[in-house]
């Protein structure tokens, strides 16, 4: 995607790939609350990068600083090679922002939303009009072009918000929890749209608390907890580094579960790397699930049910934070 903004002169030769976001010791305080606690990030141009973490981990605060709508408390931040404090408008002219809550203009139609947003970006009308048809097709909203936004479903509103963020053909798109609150079907449609953007070479930066979303979309991700980055890498790397390839879930029933988990731990089985005890199941990181099940059987710890599956980012998260990712 090329950009038509007048601010390109300020940046380097577009043929040379440049880091989309560079942060060093990036920090955000709200009064006494430390929302982001000195994080380092490098997002390369063309990459899809995700912030993964629970609610309150600092993802949104980090995103708002990158979007230049939240002043940096401390540390260095460069977005598209520019300084957010001094060059806010120039940066924003090359950003697309999809906020956590849709903030579409409910008094206007679908088409008018896109038109007005293009004007906010200072684009000439004929150019916007040409793009609107493309964007409506991209967002699968062509039939709804002249409907009031109010009448759209949640998934449609979300797609319109994404289409709106693309009206200036941005170099970097920020998506804050793009699929939260959508039904599974709408999520898949949205992921599909995001994959298409990726394949066009647009840099995507997203936050999510869905593990499958990060695995689906991200080239690289950081896991945030209490304002800090606690792990970084590709989904595959993180799974390989922090968990076994397969995990075994064992359920003993909620009454018996805590005691059974403790007993399992006490066995000290050689093939078991770690055990995460949850309220209604234990997640066993084991190199040999069958051997572990046999051992449980020998020790009269027969689970009510068990499941052997591939390790996911959720397991990584549980392993690293020692708690459920549901707040």
């Amino acid at each position: 995607m090329s950009t038509t903004s007048a601010t390109d002169a300020a940046t380097a030769d577009p043929a040379v790939p440049m880091a989309a976001v560079v942060a060093r010791g990036l920090t955000k305080h709200f009064g006494d609350l430390v929302a982001v606690d000195g994080i380092d990030i490098d997002v390369a141009a063309g990459e899809t990068f995700a912030f993964l973490g629970a609610n309150g981990a600092g993802k949104t605060s980090a995103m708002r600083m990158i979007a230049t709508v939240s002043p940096v408390t401390a540390g260095d931040l460069r977005v598209l090679g520019m300084d957010p404090t001094a060059d806010g408008p120039a940066i924003r002219s090359r950003l697309g922002v999809v906020p956590q809550e849709d903030n579409l203009d409910l008094e206007l139609t679908v088409r008018e939303n896109l038109l007005v947003y293009g004007l906010y970006h200072g684009l000439p009308r004929p150019l916007i009009r040409a793009r609107i048809d493309e964007l409506l097709a991209f967002a699968q909203l062509t039939d709804k072009a002249d409907n009031e936004v109010e009448s759209l479903s949640g998934g449609m509103k979300r797609r319109l918000t994404i289409a709106r963020a693309l009206v200036n053909e941005p170099d970097l798109v920020l998506l804050d929890e793009p699929t939260t609150g959508l039904d599974p079907q709408a999520r898949h449609v949205l992921w599909d749209r995001l994959h298409e953007l990726r394949s066009r070479g647009v840099t995507l930066l997203l936050t999510t608390h869905y593990m499958d979303e990060a695995e689906q979309l991200a080239d690289r991700l950081v896991i945030m907890d209490h304002g800090r980055i606690i792990a970084e890498g590709s989904p595959r790397e993180l799974i390989e580094r922090h968990v076994t390839r397969e995990v075994l879930e064992v359920r003993f029933g909620s009454g018996r579960q805590p005691a059974a988990t403790d007993a399992l731990l006490a066995l000290g089985l050689p093939e078991v790397d770690a055990v995460e005890g949850l309220a209604e199941r234990a997640i066993v990181h084991t190199r040999d699930a069958q051997a572990t099940l046999d051992a449980l059987d020998r020790h009269d710890l027969r689970p009510r049910g068990h499941l052997t599956r591939r390790a996911t980012l959720e397991d990584v998260f549980l392993r690293l934070t020692g708690r459920q990712l549901v707040d």
Partner: protein, 275 residues
């Protein structure tokens, strides 16, 4: 996230005259408001009818009982001639306040409209200027229509009445800017009762329905503090073709209100939206 206490505001605090125009995108917000008004036209007419109703009930109706009163520069005018310019001034005030309080509060707190705008190269001052500019366009339409009604009723005494249009614009600007600044401090719909607490007495006691001279001296001094008094005096002098030097003071008060309101609104919008 709320209450940014020790956190400084990132918006560059340049106080050059150009900074008052933001990034120069205010007109795009005005266009947005036009699109919205076009699809919701009924709201638009209320603002025109209100002063006309007052004019007929109080000016024409009550005026039949009251007879003549002393107008600006001591000239004698009919009661309806006295009241009509005050209705023009008051409706400019009311229109601007409705627009800058209720409408802006909604967009700020519920619609999240401004958050969406600030994700683009627009800056808070574009929003302040755009909203007030739109309120000015609306107000100018109402004022013109009302002035035409006054002319047809023979309530206009000279060409200076045309200057009442920019005067009404200035009243709208002053109250719109201050109203918008006040709105940025409001946290719930209940705070709007406070707005009425200021607006209603101002409407009733700013030499709107009778000359200030009927008050004792100290109360006259109080009434002169009211910004609407200055607006009314200005419009009345122009419509009745009785200019005087005190109009310079009237204009100065309204200009000062406009500038102060705009500066506070810009600062507060940045504090609220850019945290």
């Amino acid at each position: 996230m709320s209450a940014p206490s020790a956190v400084s505001v990132a918006a560059p605090a340049r106080l050059t005259p150009l900074a008052l125009l933001g990034a120069g995108r205010a007109h795009t917000l005005m266009f947005r408001n036009y699109l919205s008004a076009r699809s919701h036209p009924v709201v638009f007419f209320g603002g025109f009818l209100e002063p006309v109703f007052y004019l007929f009930s109080l000016g024409v109706g009550l005026g039949a009982l009251v007879g003549d009163v002393t107008g600006p520069n001591g000239v004698t005018v009919t009661y309806v001639e006295f009241v009509a310019p005050a209705m023009l001034a008051a409706s400019a005030m009311n229109g601007a306040i409705t627009e800058s309080t209720f409408n802006i509060f909604f967009k700020l707190r519920f619609g999240k409209l401004y958050d969406a705008m600030l994700a683009t190269p627009m800056v808070p001052m574009d929003i302040a200027v755009g909203e007030i500019g739109w309120s000015q366009v609306r107000g100018a339409a109402y004022s013109t229509a009302f002035l035409v009604v006054m002319a047809f009723m023979g309530l206009v005494r000279g060409w200076t009445a045309l200057l009442a249009l920019p005067a009404a614009g200035l009243i709208g600007l002053a109250f719109g800017a201050v109203g918008m600044a006040a709105t940025t401090f409001m946290t719930s719909w209940r705070d709007f009762d406070l707005v009425q607490l200021f607006v209603l007495p101002m409407f009733l006691f700013s030499a709107t329905f009778y000359p200030l001279e009927v008050y004792p001296g100290w109360l006259q001094a109080v009434a002169r503090v009211s910004p609407l008094y200055h607006g009314t005096a200005l419009v009345r002098g122009l419509v009745l073709a009785e200019p005087s030097w005190s109009m310079v003071t009237n204009v100065a008060v309204l200009v000062a209100m406009s500038v102060a309101g705009l500066l506070v609104a810009r600062r507060r919008l940045a504090t609220l939206l850019l945290t």
